[in-house]
């Protein structure tokens, strides 16, 4: 006994002391962030759905090689440095962060990067459009990876900010070696479980109800990003009024997707503050120009939307200022193209839209051979963008004034997005976030001919070989001036052809209880670890 006491007592004392201090610091910093927004991620599989709601959860559990802060600036995450090889401009080299562990304790190595990028290029993945230029990924050593591109791609690193790295060993052991196919509604081991390297680890996941993550104590960046959050409870609340009521009653701390009608009220509410600003996301309408005959129209034997005058008529009949003033209550900026002022290739001089003019629109329709208009169905989400269904209803009313009778189908993004990707709609509403901050990302997904790896969100049927060649040339053009000239060229073509009718760039607003400061993220995917960085 005595012997034991002598040896153990100091150790016991030290342990108690440690535990007590740990407990004290823990309780001083214990902070649960109860976070709500309008909709849930469709899956936790990081490569299955290239949509904002999926990346929001993804960024807190998984990590990409490089990440963007709230202001959109690139910062290293799993990569510490990156460069184009001086002797070969078609190869990017990434130095990986040492001593990083996945949530299950597995070490993070170059094998995981190679595995994840190849996984994201598989047919069922939705992230492959970001990787069109990638020819191969190879491991150089445990902490070095090289991306070989089809010709030089000076902007590759911009495309990797939402490409999350999974654990090779865990994925293979858990039926997650291939991405979940959302279009076919299958599930895999990564749909409801996750094993990332991110700042938070998954505790529980109930789709459409709540997802709980807790602080990852083994996170490599805990010292650098001292965010002080111990736990995040993420809840989708589809009803706008319920969501706001939950914040006002103290049931939640942070509300993403604040309904525009409630911003003014929340700003004056006690103990609550609102952060708002434009998102890097244009909202627009897509026309199906590729079909010989529209599925939902009374015009048979030809496709009215294939005539550019009809598309111009619709563009002219949309009163963007009214949508901004009434539907969005000022929380948007009208745009003349499917772009935003944040991206490379934006040109203020080209950002114009036809003046709202019912008579001119009617004339264009008559010139195209539809003096009495025609009927068509417009598909929209009702749970994705700010007031998406309201915008669509306004469009229905505005087109009614020029004789285009629009039937509105509003449904959840779970139905809407696969429908666009399968090219099932004649006329649809979509928003496009631009994570690469470069025009190419818009061209490649929305304007390029649909192939398994490009044009994945092009539901318009547009297929123009000349345009495709120009878009593809951007992948490998190293001369920035030449590349930008091609971008201008493509935008000019787009301006003349009106394949989409752009409406606006939406503002996003977040509301929070006053003890929190969560800035607006231009991509609307707030990465909570940066809260610590902005504080210190």
């Amino acid at each position: 006994m005595k012997q034991m006491d002598k040896t153990r007592l100091p150790a016991l004392f030290a342990a108690t002391l440690l535990a007590t201090t740990a407990l004290v610091t823990w309780s001083a910093e214990a902070k649960t962030l109860r976070w709500a927004r309008s909709q849930d991620a469709t899956t936790l599989d990081p490569h299955s759905g290239n949509t904002g709601p999926n990346h929001v959860l993804g960024h807190n559990i998984y990590e990409p090689l490089v990440i963007r802060g709230f202001d959109g600036k690139l910062v290293g995450a799993l990569a510490t440095s990156w460069r184009v090889l001086p002797d070969n401009p078609s190869v990017w080299e990434f130095k990986l962060r040492p001593n990083v562990k996945f949530h299950n304790g597995n070490a993070f190595t170059a094998d995981d990067v190679v595995f994840s990028i190849k996984r994201a290029l598989m047919p069922a993945a939705d992230m492959k459009s970001l990787l069109v230029s990638v020819e191969d990924v190879t491991k150089v050593d445990d902490l070095t990876v090289q991306f070989k591109t089809k010709g030089p791609n000076p902007l590759l690193v911009n495309n990797l900010t939402n490409l999350f790295i999974m654990d090779k060993e865990w994925s293979e052991a858990n039926n997650a070696a291939t991405p979940q196919n959302l279009k076919e509604k299958t599930e895999n081991g990564a749909t409801r479980n996750a094993n990332g390297t991110g700042p938070f680890t998954l505790v529980s996941r109930e789709p459409d109800v709540r997802t709980v993550v807790k602080k990852n104590d083994a996170y490599w960046g805990n010292a650098e990003y001292n965010h002080g959050i111990t736990e995040i409870v993420y809840r989708p609340i589809p009803e706008a009024a319920t969501r706001v009521a939950a914040l006002l009653s103290g049931e939640i701390d942070y509300l993403q997707d604040v309904p525009v009608q409630d911003i003014a009220r929340l700003q004056t509410a006690q103990g609550i503050k609102v952060e708002a600003g434009p998102e890097n996301r244009p909202i627009f309408l897509g026309f199906n120009i590729g079909l010989p005959e529209l599925r939902s129209s009374d015009v048979k034997g030809k496709n009215p939307l294939a005539d550019v005058r009809v598309r111009q008529a619709i563009n002219t009949a949309i009163n963007r200022d009214a949508i901004q003033r009434v539907t969005m209550r000022g929380q948007s900026e009208p745009v003349g193209m499917v772009w935003s002022r944040f991206i490379n290739g934006y040109d203020k001089a080209m950002d114009t839209w036809p003046k709202y003019d019912v008579a001119a629109a009617k004339k264009l329709l008559a010139d195209a051979g539809y003096p009495n208009g025609f009927s068509i169905t417009l598909h929209t989400t009702n749970d994705r963008y700010v007031n998406d269904e309201g915008i669509a209803q306004s469009v229905v009313a505005m087109l009614g004034q020029i004789g285009v009778k629009v039937t509105l189908v509003a449904h959840s993004l779970r139905v809407h997005f696969p429908g666009i990707q399968r090219g099932e709609y004649d006329f649809y509403l979509l928003g496009w976030g631009i994570p690469t901050f470069d025009s190419h990302y818009i061209f490649n997904d929305l304007y390029r001919t649909k192939t398994p790896s490009a044009g994945t969100w092009n539901g318009t049927g547009l297929s123009n070989a000349e345009l495709d060649a120009k878009i593809d040339s951007l992948n490998s053009e190293v001369d920035t001036a030449k590349r930008n000239a091609t971008i201008v060229d493509i935008w000019k073509w787009i301006k003349e052809n009106d394949v989409y009718a752009p409406i606006h760039v939406q503002f996003i607003a977040g509301a929070m209880r006053s003890e929190w400061t969560i800035p607006t993220d231009v991509e609307n995917t707030p990465k909570m670890k940066f809260l610590g960085a902005s504080r210190s």
């Binding site: 009024a241 009220r265 009313a397």
Partner: protein, 318 residues
């Protein structure tokens, strides 16, 4: 009543059962009940307004081309920013005049209510008559299905039928089919009550001498059910139907409020309440308030009338 001349005249009137129900006796009970008079007045006003929507409403609320987005969120008694039109009860988020929308919404709500009650009435009476008259396995089957039906809340059954219909009908046709679907959904969820009542009355009538006489004369079962039994079992069912009309209107509003009823481009009262609910806490109270008020008035008036009719036709309460 004691006048011997008036009695044979009333029973000989060509109007038959309905005519007898409307004789001076019922009228007297009506005049002496202030509740009945007020609720009849409210119901008739609302029904008239609904029927004359095209004439009375300042705007066709179902025609999207007549809406001006710049009129959106105009408060009651103010002029819209776009059309300069006066909005008596304000406008909604799309610039739709709430006052006009009430006319059209009430019409749609009444249409759905009446049609679905008619649907369940026809179905319930036919099945109840069949069960009561034929008996045996047919009766067992029909009544057990009715029992199962009655063990679910009606709204749940309507939701189920609605979900099935929605997956069967392509979304493009959905908007036009919505009214029919909702009528069938509400109608199918309410037939059991009628079937039970009719079956009970049929069981009593089946063994009476006039039915046996008809059977001996060789008249077919179908004809006996329709010509002989039916007129004698409809009385109690019609009272249930009146009360159920209010319930059907509320059921439609509930479905539309849940977002599975009528589309926003053709708003019924329930759809209007649903779109108003979003803005209730944001200061735009009128979008929800007026449709809700009309719905309450309509349902209350019909309910009170139904209650009164039930009591007035019940000799035991006199």
């Amino acid at each position: 009543m004691s006048d011997p001349a008036s009695k044979p005249q009333a029973s000989a009137a060509p109007m038959g059962a309905i005519g007898r129900a409307l004789d001076a006796d019922l009228w007297f009970w009506f005049r002496s009940s202030p509740v009945a008079i007020v609720s009849a007045f409210v119901a008739v006003t609302l029904i008239a307004a609904a029927l004359l929507a095209d004439v009375l409403a300042p705007q066709n609320a179902f025609d999207a081309a007549q809406l001006n987005l710049l009129d959106g969120f105009t408060p009651p008694m103010e002029r819209g920013m776009g059309s300069q039109m006066l909005f008596l009860m304000g406008s909604d988020d799309q610039g739709r005049d709430i006052f006009s929308a009430l006319f059209y919404g009430t019409r749609l709500s009444l249409l759905v209510g009446l049609a679905s009650v008619l649907f369940s009435l026809t179905m319930g009476i036919s099945l109840g008559l069949l069960a009561g008259y034929v008996g045996g396995r047919t009766e067992m089957f029909i009544m057990r299905v009715a029992d199962i039906q009655l063990s679910f809340p009606a709204i749940l059954i309507a939701l189920l039928i609605f979900g099935v219909a929605r997956s069967l009908i392509p979304p493009q046709q959905y908007e036009t089919a919505a009214v029919v679907v909702i009528i069938v959904a509400i109608g199918l969820s309410n037939w059991a009550q009628y079937a039970r009542t009719v079956r009970a009355s049929t069981l009593v009538e089946r063994n009476k001498e006039y039915v046996q006489a008809a059977r001996l004369m060789g008249i077919s079962g179908l004809a006996i059910m329709a010509r002989h039994v039916l007129p004698n079992v409809t009385g109690p069912v019609l009272v249930i139907a009146t009360i159920n009309l209010a319930l059907a209107i509320i059921e439609e509003a509930t479905l539309s409020f849940l977002g599975v009823g009528l589309p926003v481009t053709q708003p019924s009262l329930g759809t209007l309440i649903r779109s108003g609910q979003k803005f209730l806490l944001s200061g735009e109270w009128w979008i929800l308030f007026f449709p809700a008020l009309v719905l309450v008035l309509l349902a209350l008036a019909i309910n009170l009338l139904g209650d009164w009719l039930r009591d007035a036709l019940n000799p035991k309460l006199r």
